[in-house]
């Protein structure tokens, strides 16, 4: 298995699981992110806090052209700036913006960078027959997870730190024999779950 080590970008969601009119959440280096698909079919990733009173935006609504905060109804357009403040005559305020993450879609995954650098995922080897795995949260830090997953499956794994004590494993695997996609996903999910039990119990191999 190819366990990607040095990287400047990390997956935070499966592309097909970011649905229209919906808001997905992800943990990323101690931050919370909201991942959403606009009516233009583009996926955007923002920090999951309203700049107004810091309520998480993912508790609000994806209106297609904007996200509306649940608290005071502020709407943030596709570029992340405020396009409507209901209590201020519905004014727009282009000087106020959510924190927009640099993101991209590649190999069926949504990727983000840490410090705003250009997001151009180039280490994805999703070839023919590669099956996307179920994202698996693990309650150990990313380094421990990397050590514990050395011998996992025959595809590619990406480990996204959620915070200092937890991470999420994304990845692909190749079908064995005449396995269906779901059978491959089930086999690898079971294997990774076994490794997770071991890791969380304190072992590394």
């Amino acid at each position: 298995m190819n366990l990607v080590k040095k990287t400047t970008m990390w997956p935070v969601a499966l592309e097909r699981e970011v649905l229209p009119a919906s808001l997905a959440r992800a943990g990323f280096f101690g931050k919370e992110l909201v991942v959403w698909r606009g009516d233009d079919d583009v996926i955007r990733v923002w920090e999951d806090h309203c700049p107004h009173r810091s309520v998480r935006l993912s508790a609000g609504r994806n209106l297609g052209d904007s996200i509306q905060c649940i608290y005071h109804g502020w709407r943030y357009g596709k570029d992340g700036t405020v396009i409507e403040i209901p209590a201020l005559n519905h004014e727009a305020r282009s000087d106020i913006s959510v924190n927009v993450m640099s993101s991209a879609v590649a190999g069926g995954l949504v990727w983000v960078t840490k410090n705003g650098g250009n997001c151009t995922p180039d280490n994805v080897q999703a070839g023919n027959g590669a099956v996307l795995l179920r994202p698996l949260p693990i309650n150990v830090d990313a380094d421990a997870a990397r050590a514990g997953l050395q011998d996992a499956s025959d595809g590619q794994l990406f480990i996204t730190p959620a915070d200092e004590n937890a991470c999420t494993v994304f990845g692909y695997a190749m079908a064995r024999g005449k396995e269906s996609e779901i059978e491959t996903a089930r086999r690898c999910n079971a294997q990774l779950s076994r490794l997770r039990r071991r890791l969380e119990a304190g072992g590394t191999t």
Partner: protein, 223 residues
Amino acid sequence: MIRLYDYALSGNCYKVRLLLRWLELEYETVCVDFYPGFEHRGEAFLEVNPLGQIPVIEDEGVTIRDAQAILVHLAGNYDKSGKWYPLKQPNLLGPIHSWLAFADGLTATCSAARLHDAMFMDVDIDKARNGAERLLRILDEHLWFRERDGADWLCGSDHPTIADIACFPYVALSEEGGIPQLPYPAIQRWMERFQRIEKFEPMAGMMPLAMPASDRIAGNTGG
């Protein structure tokens, strides 16, 4: 008329109110001041349910306690569509009941943590939260593979069942007990679908905004 012994902030009472609403059944309510009145432990209520638990319903002279049993009773007797508790599809009844039992586990973990945080009850909070995490992982995994099969709900094919109603409330309220939902994307999508069921009504602590319509689920969007 059906009489419901009810408490507004109880997820187990809420699931019964939801099904009564979806089945369009008339009922009367007896409010039990669970907190801070602790009326469920008082002499008067113990004559209704010696277990001291809500909800309870009285229907045609029969008293039924236990939220999951009440869902079975109501859907089994009054659901003309036959979809909420599909007695004519016996192959679904075993899976449905396994999720009804799972909902009891959610009461013992997610709900217990919420009672600890919000109503200051004496609960082993670490045990409750760890237990909740174990259950939510199982639920998320089940729902993820259900989506891959093109299915929206815990059991069956095209319609939610009382299994979804039984499990929804304390999952949706888990963050009130300090149990994060962030690690469970498939659960989040299932909760969104649930909130889009026609005539859905939230309870206090849940997202009150109407959800924009969507007919896509993650399992059948290609990829």
